[in-house]
Structure formats: C-alpha cells, structure tokens
C-alpha cells in the first residue's frame, strides 16, 4: 500500500470541506475521485500534497505520517500534484519549464556529489535534458519544446504541468481536474497520456467531475459529496450506487 488516508478532515471556519475521509491507494493503480463541484475534491488533493494543513486525521505515505508536512518535503518523498489551472514559470520556454523542474531528479542522481557539478555542470545536464525530452515526448509536447510556454494552448499548458510533474519522477501523481476545459481531441490525447503514465509505473490519483472520463480507465473510484465519502469501489459499481446517482442527478433512480 502506497498511501493510506485515515479520517482526514479539513475545516475552514464553520465550513467542513473534507469530513472524516478514509481510503487507500495501492501501487500501480489509477484511483479516480469524483463528485459535484464543491464536494471537497481539490481540498482533499491539496491536503495530500501538503498545500493545506489538515484539521484532523492522518495521511500515511509508505507507513510514514506525512499529514501537515511541507509541499516540498512531500514532493521529495515522491508525491507530486498538478494544478487545475495551469501554473507556469511564464517567461521560459517549454523545455526550460521541464528543466527547471529537474531539481528532485538531479538530487537523486547526484546525491552529495552535487557540489562537484557546480564546477562542471556538463554531464549531468545532458542526462537531465534527455529526461526532460522524454517527459515532453510522453506528454506529446516534443514538437513545442523550444516554444515560449506563453504560446501554448490551454490544453497544452495542462500537459506541460504533467510533464513538469513527471520530471520529478513521482511514484504517486495527483492530478487536479486534468480534463477540465479541454476539447474532445485533447481529452482523448490526455487519456492516452495517462495510460502511458501507468505503463511507465506511476500510480495516479485523479479528481474530476466528469464521471464518464474517469470511469473509462480508473481501477478504483471514490465518490465525494459535501466533503464526505459516499461510495467506494469499482467505477462501475460506484456509478450505480444509489447515493451517487442521487448526488449527481439530485434524486434517486427509482424515485
């Protein structure tokens, strides 16, 4: 088991955004978390990535409690999150974006030999560049690598976010609504990228409100409503769950 979440809760004043949520993610899985807008999906992901401190509950990463740890510490342990609205380093080119995300890969490669590379960056730099190009190819951005990132389309910007995350060599990738705002072609593209990521050995946790999109390839699904977990299991079963149907359609099937 990679990640185990126990009774995770987040309160903002009187509002309970995430309420007593527990679940687990196994290695190699694709876990889809879905729920209507405002159901606490993004908050849940931010808690896992350390962007917000939880009000209660625990998060175990390979048995180690990481609840409340800083984002960079969690990232260094192998959990990387992408953003719903693409976050970029504006003035850089696409390849430079991925290279600037190479710090974790670099420290793993060099360890304490980092200081030597201060004087002669050459060799390590070539390896990192090759990895960056691989990450771009994985995200179908290889043809745009020398473009300024500001010229990318919205969908490409999101893929660049995934490429930067992949440069960090994550074991668990948390994707915050990767399909939102994408056209049909881009969604198909995204799906094939996500399948490649799984083949690549990366465990994925994806949140989205597009149920159909998640159901197509998730191994496990979790449904949230108003911060509470209302169903969990195989995507097909979760979608058929009366509580989920009610949350989505506002009424029960049989009503």
């Amino acid at each position: 088991m990679l990640l185990k979440v126990e009774n995770l809760t987040k309160r903002f004043g009187g509002l309970i955004a995430v309420s007593d949520v527990s679940f687990a993610i196994n290695k190699g899985e694709i876990v889809g978390i879905f729920g209507p807008n405002g159901s606490g999906k993004t908050t849940l992901l931010s808690l896992l990535a350390g962007l917000l401190p939880p009000s209660a509950g625990r998060v175990f990463w390979k048995g180690r409690d990481i609840a409340g740890a800083r984002p960079d510490v969690i990232a260094a342990l192998g959990v990387i999150k992408t953003f719903q609205n693409p976050q970029l380093f504006s003035e850089l080119s696409v390849l430079e974006h991925v290279m600037i995300a190479s710090f974790l890969a670099f420290t793993r490669m060099k360890g304490h030999g980092r200081l030597r590379s201060f004087l002669s960056p050459g060799k390590g730099e070539a390896i990192l560049r090759a990895r960056a190009e691989k990450a771009l190819t994985l995200c179908r951005l290889q043809d745009s690598s020398s473009k300024p990132a500001a010229e990318l389309s919205y969908g490409e910007e999101k893929m660049l976010g995934v490429a930067m995350a992949m440069m960090c060599e994550p074991e668990l990738l948390l994707l915050d609504e990767p399909a939102s705002g994408l056209g049909n072609d881009e969604v198909h593209n995204l799906e094939s990228v996500l399948r490649d990521l799984r083949t690549h050995g990366t465990t994925l946790c994806i949140i989205d409100h597009k149920v159909a999109f998640l159901a197509r390839f998730a191994d496990q699904a979790i449904a949230l409503q108003q911060g509470c977990k209302i169903a969990e299991g195989l995507p097909h079963d979760v979608l058929a769950d009366p509580g989920v149907v009610k949350a989505y359609l506002g009424r029960s099937h049989h009503a």
């Binding site: 800083r70 380093f89 995300a101 974790l104 930067m164």
Partner: protein, 315 residues
Amino acid sequence: MKTLLFLVPLYLLPLVVRSDVVLTILIFTFVLSILAIGFNVVFGGAGQLTMFHAAAFGIGSYVTFLSMLRFGISFWLGYLVAVLIVVLISILIGWICFKFRLKEFYFAVVTLAFAELCRLVAMNWTSVTNGTLGMLVLEKPTVWLPGSGVVRIEQTVPWYFLTLVCLTGVLIFSVLLMRSWIGRNFSAIRLNEDLAQTLGIDTFRYKLLAFTISNVIASFAGALYGFYTGYIEPAYLAVTQALDAIAMVLLGGVSTILGPVVGALVLTSLPHLIELPAEIRVAVYGMILILVILLMPRGIVGLAAGLSRGRVNAA
C-alpha cells in the same frame, strides 16, 4: 562564460591609459559592480527585493577593519571575520523574514528596518566605530605575488588590478552559481514560488541561501571600498547606498550577468562626464536615470540582447 571575455581588454587597459582619473573611475566601477552583483543574486536571481545589501556592504568594511585593528590580522583574514558575521546576521534576518513568508514590498520594508538598525549601531556605538565621524583606514590590503613577495596595495594601478581580479572572481562565481541547480532553483522561486515548492524545491532554504550569498558578496565590495577610499563611515550602510546599487542593476539589466557591471560603469562615470554646476548635474543625472528605466525596462544589457536577437532573426 564567454560573456566574461569582455574582462580581457580591461586587464590590458593600464598599458594604454595612464590617466589616474579614468583608472580611479574604473576602480570605483569594479567595487560597486561587486555590490550590484550581490543585489542581483537575490533580486534578479530569486526575486526577493532586499534592502539589506548596503548594510552588508557597511558591515563588511567595518568588521574587516576593526578585526584587523583588534587582532592584528591581515586584510583577508579580517574579511573572513566579516564573512562569518554577515552570514550569521543574514541567516537571522532571512530566517525571520522567510519564516513569516514576507514577500516583495513587505520583505523590502523589514530588511530596510534591519539595515537602519545596523546603521544606528554603527553611528551610536562610538567607542568602537567612532560614531558619525567615521574611521580613517591607514592599513592597506596585502597580496603575495610570485617574485616580489608580499606587496602592499597602495597606488592606483595595483588597486586597479586588485579590484579587477576580485570582480573577475565574483563574476565567475556568479556565472557558476546561476548555471548550477542552485541558480535554477532561484529562478523557479522568482517566477512561481508555489509551483517551485510543489516541484520539490525547499523554497525557504533557497531564499535564505540567496539572501546570504548576496550579502556576503556585498560585504566583499564594502571591505574593498573602505580600504580603497581610506575612510569608513555609517553612510555606507544608508538607504541611499542601497538605492544606488538597485539603480545600477535596473539600469544595466536585472537577472543578467553583465547588467550590474554595465550599470555600475554608467552610474559611476556619468557624474564625471556631465560638466555642469552641481545642482543641475544631479537633476540631469536623475532625468537620465528615469528615462532609461522607463524606456528600457530590461536595462542596457537586456536591450542589447534584444537588438542582437532581432538582427539574427532578420538575417
């Protein structure tokens, strides 16, 4: 590294130019360039608007001189003591500012307050610093040269070479720094700190590192400046000194290697080139600064890079 080849003609210059005025202006340029490079590391590198660099500059000159007097050590060992103190002060101030997540204007105001505090100490700790009167520095740095042994740096030409060698060293260091993973992490913090942190960069540690390195470089400029002018006073730590260095970086080009040097050269030589009555000269000088910053937001180096890139694209 190729950009540093511009230094080569500077090494040959004293063979051609014998004018003490020109060499003196260049000595001031070299020393103030080092201060501006220090500011550029933390501002142009990691995007943190510090106002502490002039204080570090002043502390560099005071501590180097005072430790020479007290412990009877050489200029270089005295400067090592200054480095130690500047590192400790930087870690303390940086720790406070970055733990409280102070950014941009707030960071500037708090570092300015600390800088003023240091200036007040220099001004009021009369028994040690001689207060507002300042201190005369009769000691000189010494260097060991093959063939001639230990040499005191007194005349203009030796000072020219000493400060040029120091500038070269600082420039090489800053190029290596900005091209290393450290410089890359600085840029990530400058461009998008939240994203940098989710990509595994310990932003607190790297901001602290940028602030400390920047102050150590600035203190080196201060040590050289005090010993070259032969006089140390609390005004070295003043906000005007800090603003001068900021003007140099903005004018030359933020986040560029050569920007601080170009800016220092222009702002050091300009007052000597404008032969007008003092009051008008200051006004003209101010006008030039305002115009240049308005018309060239990326500085002289940024403009030159843009022009040469434009030419390449047109060709």
